[in-house]
Structure formats: C-alpha cells, structure tokens
Amino acid sequence: MHKPFAMAALLAASCGAQAATDSDLAAIRSQIDEMKKTYEQRIASLEQKLAQAESHKGESKAVPVATQSPAPETVPANRAGTPASSFNPEVSLILQGQYKDMKNGAGRGITGFIPAGGHDHGSGAIEGINKRGFSVDHTELVFAANIDPNWRGQAIIAAVDGKAEVEEAWFQSLGIGHGIGLKGGRFRSGIGYLNEQHPHTWDFADAPLMYQAMFGTEGGYAQDGIQLKWLAPTPLFLEFGAEFGRGANFPGSDRNKNGSGGGAVFAHLGGDVGEANNWRAGLSYLKTSARERESVFRDVGGLEAQGFFAGDSATWLADFVWKWAPNGNPKYQNFKFQSEYFVRREDGNMTCKDENAVGNACAAEVTGTYRTRQSGWYAQGIYQFTPNWRAGLRYEQLDSGTRDFGINAANLAVDAYKPKKSTAMVDYSWSEFSRVRLQFAQDKSMQGVTENQITMQYIMSLGAHGAHKF
C-alpha cells in the first residue's frame, strides 16, 4: 500500500524542480487518479476472489467461467499461457505425397553424370527415382527445443517406405555471442542456397537437376560434424562459415578413418534495397574425398560395369536470391528469383570391375586415372499473385564437361551431353500450413529422350510453427 504514495511523492518531487505548467499538473493529477483507480480495482478484485475462494471451499470441481460474459477472458500479466512441463518440445509433422505421371525409364539418371548411389535398379539403387503413380514420398517428424540457456537442439526423422532415417539431429549454440554460431551433429550443410532447405519448403516438387547431379535425388548435402559461423557486426549482412565432418555422403564416401573426411567453407552477403527488395548472394566450396565410391557405368558395348573411385572431389557453388514484395509485405503479393551455379572437379583413380559377371569390358579389373570437370546451373522465378496462389518457372542446364577416364576410356562409354529441363508449376495454399501443387516438366536429362512429366503434390504441416529461412 506504500507504493502508490511513494511513487506519487517521487513524481511530485521530480516535477517540483521544473516549472510546472497547467498541463503537467493535469497530467500528474490524472496519473494519480488512475493509480488510485487501479489499486482500488485490484483490492476489489482481490476481495472478490477471497470471497469466492471462501464460498467454494470444499468444492472439488472448478466452477466454469461463463463464456458469454461481455468481458473476454484475460491472462494475468507476467504469466505465460503454456502449461509447465519439464520437456515441452516444439513438435511438427510434415505430410508430403504425390501423384507422378512419367515414362517408365529403365536406367533413369542424368546422362554424362555419375548418379549418387548407383541408378534405378540393382544394388545401391536410387530410392524412388522411378516411382510413378501415387506415392507418399516423405513424412517428416521434427522435434526442436531449447536444451538450456546455452543450447538448442533439433531432430528430423524422415520416414520413407519401411524405414526411418535420421535426416538431421543437431545442437546449436545460443550463448556464445560475438556473432559466433556453433552447430554440431548431423545437419544439412550451409553451402549453396537450396541445400539447407527441406523438401517441404521447395518451390518445386523435385530438386533441381544441379542438386541431383551433385548430391543425389534427396537434393541436399548433409554432414555429420561441426559447423562454425561468424556474422560480422556490419549493417550489411556478411556471414562466414566453415564445416568439418565425416564426409560420408556423395560425392564423398564413408570409411573407417580418424580425422575429417570432408569440409566446406562458405560466405554470404545480403541486404535490402529500399523497403520492397531483399537479396542474398553466396559463395561456397565443398571438398570431400572418396575411397571405393561405387558408381554404375556402361561399357563400350552397352553392358553394365561398376566403377570404384578413389580421390578428391571439390565443388564451387555460387548462389543468388532476390525477393520483392510491395512495401516489403509478402503476404498478398511477392516475387522471388533464385539462381545457383556449380562447378565440380574430381581427381583420382578409378577401378573398373564386372561385379555381376555380365561379361563387360572390365572382366579383368582395370585401374586408371580419373579426372572430370563438370558444371551446371538453374534459375527460377516464383510469383505469388494472391495470398493463396503462386506460379513459377524453372530452367536448368548441366554440362558434362571434361571427363578423362584414363585407360578406362577404352572400356567405358564416355558421354558428352548437356542435360536440360524446363519446369512450370502452380500451387494453392489454404493457409501457411497446407498446399497442393501441380507441376509440369519437360525433362531432357537423358540423351535422346524428351520426357513430359506431370506431378501433383501435397504438403501439409501439423503442429509447431516452424520458422523458415530466408
């Protein structure tokens, strides 16, 4: 009860020193009146509560509050509305599935490029690359929470037909400061632009050919390791990052080894141009090394042969994103342009084998040098013209570039080709959490084949409001 009087006294004292004008005095008076009023109200409500508590003493059931009362329900200040729990993670579930109409392409792949994990049949086949008709291609379960004031953790479990895999499982620093961010565990690498994004945030139903050629159909490079980032204290966004890890995924290979099997560095630059435009540009470098990395080739006679690569793979990526929205309000209307370019060099040795004894040119194992320099790019634009509708176009092209197979050039077919693909999509979102998409693509990624693909896709998000990256 001393508080209002003390405050009033303080107020009077603080204002006494100045020449008090009429409006000041009026203000002070009204403030004191307001204080009196609020305290009187508080006392009245406390008295009422006390009376209620006394009258309900002994009753086991809580009395329901009349919901039709003119005053809406309120939550008292300084109290969170969530129930207390020792473990209260943000949980979300992503449902993603599709209907796909395309040719029955045996040996589906990208001509001139070694597919990650073999091709569509046989051992080490690429999962789902040839799946036509209806399919549930991805169900993702996401758990995330702050671990303590210093750390945050997140795990993403992806369920794909009969198996669940840990897609990501990492912890991230919150308290280091000085612009430093540390991440450890399994995470999607910070290289490129699209790489860190999960399939449910993609603007098209499939990853660009460029990502498929670099990392396989999952369209991203994930690393078991650590990532260190530093954000510069500048008005322009300037970020540097470095990663070290196991390097087990394509274009690297898993093996029993101490130390790091793969590393990456990247730099990002970004900012605003006026209220309506934002952009980000990035440059990344990924280095992995491989031992016994198996890929499927065709020999000069068209038979299947196995190649085992040992050596280094180095990839440069450049990425650029530009976003526009009127007044910077993307809700009703916005446009996004993004483009990425990569060039990859592989250098080492390759052993050609005939594992399945089909009688190919490598019946006797042949080891020779292996050198490639390949590149590719894509560019896409997405226009959201109402809160619900978006439409987009993507064009992409790869270049099989230089492929020097050494003495194995005599045994294996060396294709030179520029795969191309054009894609158009339109999608409809009922809310932020539900979306259906229709996509049409003309795919010329296999030499001599022009394929028209139609994909109808849904993406539904349940649970916690996941924040998405720029």
């Binding site: 300084n78 961010g181 300037l238 959490f433 924040a467």
Partner: protein, 298 residues
Amino acid sequence: MMKRLFSLLLMLAALPAWANLNVFATVPEWASLVREIGGDKVKVYSATNAFQDPHRIEAKPSLLAQARQANLLVAAGADLEIGWLPLVIRDSGNSAIQAGRPGYFEAANYVSRLEVPTVLDRAHGDVHAAGNPHIHLDPRNVLKVGEALAARMAELDAPNAAAYQAAYKLFAGKWQAAIGRWEKEAAGLRGVPVLVHHSSFVYLSAWLGLKEVGMLEPKPGVEPSSGHLGSLLARQQSAPAKMILRTAYNQEGPSQWIAGKTGIPAVLLPYTVGGTNEAKDLFGLFDDTLQRLQKAVR
C-alpha cells in the same frame, strides 16, 4: 586485398557506437515507445513498417545483421513474430538478446491478454496460444509496457538509468492526460457495432467499448473468402455493423466489397505508427485512430 578488406571491417566493428543502447524493435509501435523513453541515448531499428504484416515477415539478411548488433530486442510477443523472430535471434550470434536474457523484452508479458484460447486447434485458424498479440491499441497497455521497458533499459544501461526513468515519467504524464482526452472524445463510440478484417483491434474495441460483430477473415490468418463475406452480408440484416475496420497492411478489397454492398464506411485505421501520414508517433496514432472512427460514426 582480402586482408585489407577484413581489417577495415574489423575497424568498423571496433568503432564505438554513438548510442548507448542499440535497440531492435520488431514493430513500429514499440520502436516509437523506445524513442520516447530513450531519446537521443538510444539507436532504434524497427524491423517492420506499418504496411507489413508482422505475422508474415521473413528472417531476411538485413534483420540478422541488425539483430547481431542489438543490446536490446523489443518484441510484441505472444507468438506474433513466431514465423521469423526465433530464427533471427538464433542466427544472430548475439547472446545478449536470446530469450530469457535481460536483452530480450516481450511487451505482451506485461499486460492482461485478451482472447486466450481454451482450445488449441488449427481448425480455428492460426490462433496464438498466448492470446491476442495486438496489445498496443489499448493505450493503458502502452503505459504498462512503457514502465517495464524503462526499467529494462535502465537495467541494461545503468549510467543513463535516471534519464530513462525521467523520460518515462514525462511520457506517462502526457500519456495519462491524453488517455483522459481520448476517452472523453470517444464516448460516442461506446457500443457501436463494427466489422474487422483481422482480429487486430480487440484491445482498441475493449478499451473504447466498440462491439465487434464479425471478422472478414473466416478464421484468424485465413484470407477472406467470398462465401464468408456473403454470410457477413446476410448477418448485416439482423445485426447491422456501422463500419468495417482494417489496418494499413490488410488488403482493402474485402472491406470495400462489404462497404459497396451495405453502404457502411470502410475505415482504414493506422494500426501502428506510420500507418497513416498523421500517425507519426504514438500520440498521433491514437489521435488519428479516434478521428477516423468518429468521422465514420457520424
């Protein structure tokens, strides 16, 4: 070349900031309040303007760069910024503004919130578990937030504590007087039935006694549909509204459609500082809001 660039950057970083407190405010209303309390002792950055829907901002690079340098982050809270702010805070590499630290301030924590849902189900739209986050349109809330904010600023920048407290007291005095004036002016608005685009005006309605009889969005965060607008039109027969309220960041189409069919005015309210030319600061925001409401009710 790279080395020189880098050392230049480091030098820039090491330059003493001219302001004592570097504040990152998520919305213009709290940026304005920080200015009232901090004056020239603070540098304030507003992450959004009045034409941006604060629910739907992206964690864009410029926001990360600004959050990196802030000593104090002032958020509206109650999940208003849940789609982007957590990411900005985490990726800023700034330990001072992480949730739970003194440098993290959530305005909604200091007021009694309305519309706290008893059932959490997205079938009811994008409802906020912590209640309606648009708290600033009840000027009495501005006072409560201001008091807590002044205390926080004083805690973070102790040498200027007295200045912050004095500035707040001066502001509070003027604000109290203004509330008295606004309440007198708005007496005629009590009980006036209104339609709203989004549930952005709950606190304003509660304060002034406006009666919200319908919302153009079928559910919070779901865009108005023609079917739903039709049903509002039908309801106009039995429970007629006198005007339709929307913010500067809402689309005007749905309001105009109802206005055209019913003849009641579609009223754009500034909603926050900068929403109209007149709403230059917090005082202007309420002056203009009341003026527009009074003009519409006449």
